[in-house]
Amino acid sequence: MILVLVFNLMALVVLIHENPIAFTLFMFAGQPLFVLALVLLVGALAAELRARRIF
């Protein structure tokens, strides 16, 4: 959730005060943070499902 929070704050900077540096940071740091958060979430969900013998 912290990763997505940082991703959102970076997105907010791009949306409110767009400049090339903020956008580049968002592309190369913000978006990978979101992907990492998503992978961790899917991993945790898969582990939970396995623990409950659903998956």
């Binding site: 997505v4 929070l5 959102n8 767009e18 090339p20 592309m27 913000g30 979101f34 958060a37």
Partner: protein, 221 residues
Amino acid sequence: MILAAGAAAGELSVPLPHGWIGTTSQWMTGFGIGLVVLNLILLLFAWYRVRGADQGPSVWGWLLVAVGLVPLMVGFVTFTHGLESSATVSSCSSCHTMTPFVRDLKDVKSDTLAATHFKNRYIRENQCYSCHSDYGLGGTIQAKLAGLGHVWRYTTGRYTLPIKIAAPYPNSRCLGCHGESQRFLNSPTKKDMLPDLMSGKTSCLDCHAPAHPEQKKETRR
């Protein structure tokens, strides 16, 4: 004369169309900010649910929405907004190396090629990007990759002044707009030169320079 016209234009404003509700870009920005705020609220809510006693399937549902679905929408809107905004003149002028060029661009008294195009609105918006990127998808990709290089060199200070254009300016960028204009094609001064202009043997800038003002001879960064 120019000053008077400029002053008159400053007092007047172009009327907006009836029922003006803003531009698509402004709406997308507002939508994006709304999504970010929604996502922050959802994250807070999901955090409370995760820390609470209830660890049922609904917690995972909230997490998928707060960490997966809504951020995906935020990412899409922010990326498209950033991509579009990075083509604006204000984006180019955010790096101080561009200040003299943009100052000249907006100077109604300047007769450089860039200023002439700007003050007469031959190009309505994104004037820097329109002239400094090739047409088509390939041109956009090339311009964005070059832009990344510019950001890298600017932030790390790996550039020297005066800055120079990376490659000779191709006629195709001028001809993308002028090439099919009847005024251009039937111009008596250009009629004999057309094959050379189309092939690039003669540069448009041979006659229409300077495109930008001369830069000061300084090597400091």
